[in-house]
Symmetry: D3
Subunit: 123 residues, 6 copies
């Protein structure tokens, strides 16, 4: 049954990232197999896989909390995931602009620079 | 034209809260008329009024950032606004549950207690 | 097997709080049964129940992170739990004093006031 | 010489608060005499007493950091101290307004409400 | 009139940075012209341009909030701006030292390293 | 007597890092001799040197607060110090895993990647 939670998580990640990105993420198991299991089974299997909110709306939550807490090293990953599950570039910019009013301009400026760079690399 | 920005902001607030709540909010002008003007003209007129994201999605952003930054004194206001612009009680609970994974359980537990109390008072 | 995770979590909570406190905590299920399940099965069953660190050391982590993130509404609960799993009043004061250097005096002062009040109520 | 650091700190606090407020602060020594000593000798004796910035500018720093970190339980104390060392009510409002742009409106609104209440109580 | 707000903002930025730095900042308009407009018209035009606090005191606020929220990627920009509007290198070091007591040593150490590097590059 | 506080701090640092690392740290005195003095005399002499908690438990506090506040630039230093004063690699991973539940996965993932890289470099 633990396997089920992991597999559910894995199937959600498949909707959010390419197989290459998943492989890269899974390097975590070489540091801590338990933590990797927890990320997939809990983070994606128990949380993202829940009904009640679309993956698109879940990525609005994720982008907002990353910007608010200044966790910029994971912003590129989730900007790409957000685009994959259905948010547009313009919606992502809108999220960042609203964050300017709610978390202040310094973090919003940082986020917009990262978004600009991700969007440019995708052209 | 500044008047336009204020009026645009006012018309957005009207979609989010009752006239009584707006009156209560506007007590801020007795402390600082400039700050009140800025809240309405910038926060609601320049930001919430923008196209590109529905008010419903904007409230997902707001609830998430309030929980992430621990700004719990304004959570009740925005839970009520979120319900008014179209989020369901269940969607609000889902936002909080996803926040547990992203900002940790202490803040999520606090938010869920506030949500529970708001929902109960509305029965 | 999910039952196992919940039961494991429940058995850990039993070591940390009195039955009355557990009953109070479990009111969460009236707001969101899923979130309550997640708190017990994941937070206590998957995390606190892990080998590799004593409950005493885990409470050092918890007190420190609550103080650092300013989550003071849950500090009393964990000060009481910390005493129950083996930390002394003096060790808790030391944790707060070290936090003063690492998170600044405002949060440390707030934490020390809460600790002082908990210790006084226990006399 | 430790005595010197404490006495220097005490003499700075005397410039910032009334004797009654100092007495109230010093209740901390009943919880932890060491922490009280550290607050006065380090916080005020080593830091506030330094040359190079006026007490007025130091209170701009303190108000800003309290608002940014959401340490609102100590804001009233420092608003009163700020007024005592020379900041005007208007300057304090300006600090809060600038914080709106840098830390977001939720914390700035909370701070302005506290400032409004302090100013009203002083009339 | 919106033009007025933007122009007011632009004239404040001119007092804080060199034309080259302004050109660099304005690359933001290639990512989001609306956000760039908002930064200049609101951040500088509505906030920094206000009477009631000198630019020098406003930079004390900005440096303090950046250090407190860990927004280090924008610290160099504002250390340079702070020097341009009248703060001395010594005053900037004092701000960082006071932050050590209020936000903890980790962020203060990081800030002092950045300040040291900026000051060295200016020699 | 100030000398005593500095020397006490120095003797604690000697237990936590190699002489080469201490030399590197002490470059801070070229930026601000006063701040360097404060780091050693207060941070290590007044705080780490206190009785009541082992250095091992103090490093649990330090690692937890650094992860919670996102102060990742100083995490490698303290992971190495933690190992030197007696924590095992496994205990450090457990601290990070518990932080996942308390501060959210983004910061925990970042911390685990840094830990993995430190451990690998030590092989």
């Amino acid at each position: 049954m633990e396997n089920n939670r992991f597999n559910t998580g894995k199937s959600i990640i498949d909707k959010m990232v390419s197989p290459e990105v998943f492989d890269h993420m899974s390097n975590m198991k070489n540091i801590s197999a338990d933590f990797w299991e927890m990320i997939v089974a809990f983070g994606f299997g128990d949380v993202y896989a829940r009904e009640g909110l679309s993956l698109e709306k879940r990525e609005i939550i994720t982008l907002t909390t990353l910007i608010t807490q200044g966790a910029f090293d994971q912003l590129e990953f989730h900007i790409r995931a957000a685009l994959k599950v259905g948010l547009s570039q313009n919606e992502i910019k809108e999220i960042i602009i609203q964050c300017a009013a709610y978390v202040g301009f310094p973090k919003a400026v940082h986020a917009m620079q990262i978004a600009g760079s991700v969007f440019k690399n995708m052209e």
